[in-house]
């Protein structure tokens, strides 16, 4: 194709000028380059952030691997180009192109965006625009690719409803081949062409697919959201998420792409389990990825062997939302360590529970290198930790840190959240006190064991963002001024040497809340903000809060009315038609228990709390206790 040659020629000239040219090559080890003429459907996986972030995402490798295993389909990749590369593209009028074959993205049959984070939405518009694809779904005719999107933010995708043709709810590997089959059959009947209006109707019949154009949002006379309704007869009134029943049967990428440049998570990813039922009430992932499903140890070890052979990485990460919860984590860890120690392949755990068991695990995996350890008590007082259902006590934390210091670690990072429901300044004092206690304990122990090093504590504080499908979905976020005031207050409280205090940009958290909870009207704001140059909003150096404010003014929406006002449980929510499998009545019950400071146990360890997942989705917890 002529365009490809043009792009190649242009790349020759531009790559030496831009930062990190390796982001744009697409010839990494295990990248799949297929013949365009030999397949029936061409997918493009679009990650609306920079290469190093996107390539660290396991979901990309899973979907890419699965689609490219099919002889009838191909899948290529594109990431948000960094601002210097974008400037070069625009200067020369080169359309955004795929990495593998340098094909302009508008020539694909279907482009799938992954929605990992609300603050990447402006990049989606920017990528479509760079690809010369009309931004509004209704302005894209049959000749343009179908634009789909999935991932956690698809559980309230309303701010993107005008731009995306259809959303996918749930786990992509469960549904992507069904989408492919419908699309391929549709095109086979039409000499390789598509009729978008018909195709979308066919796609809407697949469980888990939500086509926003077939639904109408209603507002009452005061402009308040009054619900969403299907406007066509054969369209489902509710869309239920798709779930992989048995992780052992699911496709897992054993030949993942190995990047040339260092990415955020530059290691093998071995997914040991999916889901988490600890039940933290602010946590969206804990709801969306239910039920807990473990992969068997035997399969995991086999997969680790193959990954090591096929990637050459020197580190294996046992990934999941909470790896220390894997039923057989100790035997698994020992097996993998023994197997790979001789090859100098290390093992890492992404997150640690606050208990001594986890410290033992950390001790095992970090036999050689002692990097810092991170724990997340999330709140400063027992009262507030009970409210959020974080079942960690101060004594747990102190015991754990004691053990950690005794083992020779000196750096501990503590994660907290600020602005949680019912929070008072006493809870903020609690954060400072807790950090101080940990530091003091550290000093004592290091002195005791004769270490000359001083302990170093990092207190990292993010702001609470109420998320859809959680018990806190009806909550108001603290106003921006309050969040900033609390951040400053904490700064005056944390003054000791040996404690580093850092916090996230509250303006970003505020917009995150607006887009997490917002409805379709936000589409106009997004468009305006993008027109004003907003992109890479999750990156502080690119975030332009003033432009966002202007966009809201222009459209006539007040963001505070979305982020900072509590919702009435009796009112419809913009995401009520999207079903995570967890019942609203359960979320309400959990909300009530939060206010009463009552905790709820993990259903793996205590009784079923009837969240609805196993009852309604015909799935079950899949633990691998005692299995070899």
């Amino acid at each position: 194709m002529k365009e490809r040659e043009q792009v190649q020629e242009w790349l020759e000239e531009v790559l030496p000028k831009v930062s990190k040219p390796l982001r744009y090559l697409g010839n990494e080890y295990n990248a799949v380059k297929k013949d365009w003429q030999a397949v029936k459907l061409r997918f493009l996986f679009a990650f609306p952030d920079v290469y190093e972030v996107g390539m660290s995402h396991l979901g990309l490798q899973i979907i890419y691997g699965l689609v490219n295993e099919q002889s009838d389909y191909l899948m290529e990749r594109v990431f948000a180009p960094w601002t210097d590369f974008e400037a070069e593209l625009r200067a020369r009028g080169i359309p955004l192109f795929s990495l593998e074959s340098a094909t302009p993205i508008a020539q694909f049959d279907c482009i799938g965006f992954t929605l990992q984070y609300e603050m990447s939405y402006s990049n989606i518009l920017n990528m479509l625009d760079l690809g010369r694809i009309p931004l509004l779904a209704k302005e894209r005719g049959d000749e343009f690719p179908i634009i789909m999107a999935g991932g956690p933010c698809a559980y309230n995708p309303e701010p993107l409803a005008e731009f995306i043709d259809f959303f996918v709810l749930g786990e992509g590997e469960e549904i992507i081949l069904e989408i492919g089959a419908v699309m391929a059959a549709h095109r086979a009947k039409r000499q390789g062409k598509q009729e978008k209006a018909v195709l979308l109707k066919e796609l809407a019949q697949i469980p888990g697919i939500y086509v926003p154009a077939f639904y109408e949002a209603r507002y009452d006379q005061n402009g308040k959201f009054a619900g969403l309704k299907a406007n066509e007869p054969e369209i489902p009134s509710r869309v239920v998420k798709r779930v992989v029943k048995d992780l052992d049967q699911a496709n897992f990428p054993l030949k993942p792409i190995v990047p040339y440049l260092e990415i955020v998570h530059d290691r093998m990813m071995l997914e040991v389990l999916r889901g988490c039922t600890r039940g933290c009430r602010f946590c969206q992932a804990g709801v969306l990825y239910r039920p807990v499903r473990e992969r068997s140890q035997k399969l995991l070890v086999e997969q680790a062997e193959q990954l090591a052979q096929n990637t050459g990485h020197n580190e294996i990460s046992l990934t999941s939302l909470s790896t220390s919860d894997y039923s057989c984590v100790e035997p698994l860890l020992r097996d993998i360590l023994n197997r790979f120690e001789g090859r100098n392949i290390g093992v890492s755990l992404p997150s640690l529970r606050v208990d001594s068991f986890s410290v033992n695990l950390a001790k095992e995996v970090q036999r050689v290198r002692k990097t810092g350890l991170t724990f997340a008590p999330e709140a400063g007082t027992q009262r507030l930790r009970d409210v959020i259902n974080k079942n960690v006590t101060e004594e747990d934390l102190l015991q754990v840190t004691e053990a950690v210091f005794r083992e020779g670690w000196t750096q501990i990072k503590l994660y907290f959240m600020l602005g949680l429901p019912t929070e008072t300044y006493a809870d903020l004092d609690g954060i400072a006190d807790l950090a101080s206690k940990v530091l003091r304990r550290g000093k004592e122990i290091l002195r005791e064991i004769g270490s000359k090093k001083a302990p170093s504590i990092t207190v990292s504080v993010s702001s609470f963002v109420p998320k859809p499908h959680t018990p806190f979905q009806w909550e108001a976020q603290d106003s921006l001024a309050t969040l900033q005031e609390k951040q400053s207050y904490l700064r005056t409280k944390i003054r000791e040497r040996g404690i580093v205090y850092n916090y996230h940009d509250a303006e970003i958290s505020f917009l995150e809340a607006v887009f997490a909870k917002g409805d379709r009207r936000l589409g106009k704001v997004l468009l305006e903000a993008w027109r004003r140059g907003c992109r890479f909003d999750g990156w502080s150096e690119h975030f332009r809060y003033e432009s966002w404010r202007e966009a809201f003014r222009e459209v006539g929406l007040i963001p505070e009315e979305i982020a900072n006002v509590p919702l009435d449980p009796a009112d419809p929510l913009p995401w009520d038609h999207l079903d995570s499998g967890v019942r609203k009545e359960y979320l309400l019950k959990e909300r009530e228990r939060a206010y009463q400071g009552q905790t709820t146990g993990d259903c793996r360890l205590t009784t079923c709390s009837v969240c609805g997942i196993c009852q309604d989705l015909k799935v079950r917890l899949l633990l691998r206790k005692g299995e070899a």
Partner: protein, 235 residues
């Protein structure tokens, strides 16, 4: 056993930094399941030592590394297995067992040969010919270039470090190019960059040259006793 490998860094890999290249090589060795030897201590590293860091954007047909294996292996087998496991743009061309070196490979290498393509926009005043222009430029006793160091800018005389320099004009895709071939000092005993040689020719020759250079390394040598030795044959 210690093997010296000659490898190329081709078009597809030319944007790898030296660090990226070392990572890519280690992953290649691991995928090929070759029994790498590791350093002792806190943070074990594979025992691979590189001859010279190649700048980003530069291609080469003769890079070298020494690699230590825990077992004896046929060099031919290493070459075949590694080439199957390396990413596009990196290729091993020769593998030769070597004895322990007196110094590290990087310390021994002191001469590099390059081919540089420079856009040629014509003569500034009358045609004097490439050879004459180069001869004239090379006849200066000294040529100072500015180098940015940690302690600020310093001046370095590059002329003694240019051992050979020749050029010719070629037509490539309808564009005229000055194609230079040069042998220059590299390493701690004096280091000359090909860009600096071009800078000198621009200043001293009566021609108009462009900035968009394509640099290709032709070889790395141990220059001793008036002779160029390949690191594969001299330790």
């Amino acid at each position: 056993m210690l093997l010296c490998l000659q490898y190329s860094k081709e078009e597809e890999a030319r944007f790898l930094s030296h660090l990226d290249l070392m990572t890519a090589m280690e992953r290649g060795f691991r995928r090929a399941a070759l029994p790498l030897a590791f350093s002792e201590g806190f943070n074990p590293h594979p025992r691979v030592s590189y001859a010279s860091a190649l700048a980003v954007g530069v291609t080469s047909e003769a890079e070298y590394l020494d690699v230590q294996f825990r077992e004896e292996l046929a060099p031919e087998e290493v070459l075949v297995r590694l080439n199957k496991a390396l990413p596009r743009g990196l290729r091993v061309k020769r593998a030769v067992p070597v004895s322990r070196r007196k110094e590290s490979l990087m310390a021994l290498i002191n001469l590099a040969c390059y081919r540089v393509k420079v856009p040629f926009y014509g003569w500034a005043d009358g045609n004097t010919g490439v050879r004459e222009t180069i001869e004239k430029a090379m006849s200066v006793p000294a040529y100072l270039v500015q180098r940015q160091g940690k302690k600020g800018v310093r001046q370095v005389d590059i002329r003694p470090g240019i051992l050979e320099l020749a050029g010719s004009l070629k037509e490539e895709n309808g564009e005229k190019k000055l194609v230079l071939e040069m042998a220059v000092r590299t390493g701690s005993s004096g280091n000359v960059k090909p860009e600096e040689v071009v800078e000198m020719l621009k200043a001293l020759g009566s021609w108009r040259l462009g900035n968009n250079l394509r640099i290709h390394r032709l070889g790395l040598y141990i220059y001793a006793e008036g002779k160029k030795w390949s690191p594969l044959e001299r330790t």
